[in-house]
């Protein structure tokens, strides 16, 4: 008689956490199955091959303007904040060092990755989610297509191939805008900025950015496809999948960012 009112409220959060754990484990299993299916579907080049270039244009080329826009303002802010931080203590040419290092190692890949998680990941998720709820994915299967080869492989490969391209452009834009800001607003000269830029530059830094962006591309497009194909319950489900894609991709991007820094630097 005494326990009953206590056990009921206690059992609810336990049951809820159990359900959440099972759901999370289920999702991991399904994601692993999708990954294995994608690797197998690579053999079906006749299906995904013709779709790769259009997807590269959608995922990569179409993302360049927003990536450049963000990188441009990041470079400006980096330059101004570096100058503010360093004034009176450290030579001003270190502004070039900070802009270059930060853009290449961190802000270029991560900010671009987060931006594309919204632009590309949500787009893929909503598109595939709509195809799922309107039975277009089922229709593909009845027409003897492997939906993974047709939908997942070209998008994921496009992400892996094009994210580094977009990230490198964003890094270049960030450094350029930081340089111009230093020239116009900080009374620095080009030789000074370039001196700082070259001071601690390592070619490996660029490879580090490329490795990170490849992994971000795989994550954003892969999660977009996964969440899209898991969609149910109509328009509401499509919205939920898009949101889930952005949230989960962003979290994994930040985890991978820390992982690569620990492993590669």
């Amino acid at each position: 008689m005494v326990l009953f009112p206590v056990t009921v409220p206690l059992s609810r959060p336990l049951a809820a956490s159990g359900r959440s754990t099972l759901a999370a484990l289920g999702s991991i299993g399904q994601a692993s199955a999708l990954f294995a299916g994608s690797v197998r579907a690579l053999r079906d080049i006749g299906v995904w091959g013709p779709l790769l270039l259009p997807q590269m244009a959608r995922v990569g080329v179409a993302s360049v303007p927003i990536a450049l826009f963000i990188a441009m303002f990041t470079g400006i802010v980096m330059s101004l904040q570096a100058s503010y931080t360093l004034t009176g203590t450290i030579p001003l040419y270190f502004v070039g060092t900070m802009v270059g290092k930060t853009m290449i190692l961190e802000l270029g890949p991560v900010l671009t990755g987060l931006t594309l998680a919204g632009r590309v990941g949500a787009n893929i998720s909503a598109e595939l989610g709509t195809m799922r709820v309107t039975e277009q994915v089922d229709a593909l299967e009845t027409l003897a297509y492997n939906p993974i080869a047709y939908l997942v492989v070209p998008r994921t490969l496009a992400g892996i191939l094009m994210f580094p391209f977009v990230v490198l452009l964003a890094i270049a834009m960030g450094i350029m805008s930081g340089w111009l800001t230093a020239l116009q607003l900080l009374d620095m000269s080009s030789p000074e900025f370039i001196k700082g830029l070259r001071l601690f530059f390592e070619p490996w830094d660029v490879w580090f950015a490329v490795v990170k962006s490849v992994s971000f591309g795989a994550v954003v497009t892969g999660i977009g496809c996964f969440c899209g194909l898991q969609t149910d319950q109509g328009a509401e489900g499509v919205g939920r999948s898009a949101t889930r894609t952005v949230v989960v991709s962003s979290m994994i991007i930040l985890c991978l960012d820390a992982f690569w820094a620990a492993v590669l630097l």
């Binding site: 195809m131 309107t134 229709a139």
Partner: protein
Amino acid sequence: MSIQLAGVHKAFGPKKVLRGFTLTLREGETAAIVGPSGCGKSVLLKHLVGLLRPDAGTVFVDGRSVGDLRRRELVELRRKIGFVFQFAALFDSMTVAANVSMGLRRLPGWDRKRIAERVGECLGLVDLNGLGERFPAELSGGQRKRAGLARAIAASPKYLLYDEPTTGLDPVTTSVIDRLILRMRDELGVTALVVTHDMTSAFRVADRITFLHGGKARFTGTPAEVRTAGDDVLRGFVEGDPALYYGL
């Protein structure tokens, strides 16, 4: 060899949709499965093309158990089956002609010219001549259904499955779709299974009608037998009488 469903059970979580459904289709006939919305009619159709697997029981197509087929065998089987989806399920980023050609592009030995000719033929069969370059969003509901039918028949399937082919259509367009279903049987000689809750349509197109109720085939007979059946639940459904149907 044709299509046979033997004691098929299917549940989604706690909801048991099919509870031992059994049906055999005869070669060349058009059969209809009728029943209220949500009773599992579409679920049944998806079992026939391997989109769903039964929890128990077996689905045979041409004598082979669909649930036991490997991926490659399933692909071969699907080439024999045309599936007309409830809302057409046209790929909205493609033109109607590209939609119709999708299945043909997977067939060995089909070049562009042959595919284009076949697409034209199929669009002609469903009276959509000249609309091949339109996108699905530019079509009416009836045109979309016909485009979905053209896509389903493009690869000359042996079987045609229709999922609620007349849902959401006006009576005239419904009649047009029904005539197309009969035309497919007469001109292409396909064995067809139509699931619908539209009794007028079922009476018009079906050689045999099966009433799906409680997850089982409650009654199977010719349209004339369905009209004269003494089963109150079936009569309630056919006549749209809730008192009879629910036994109130």
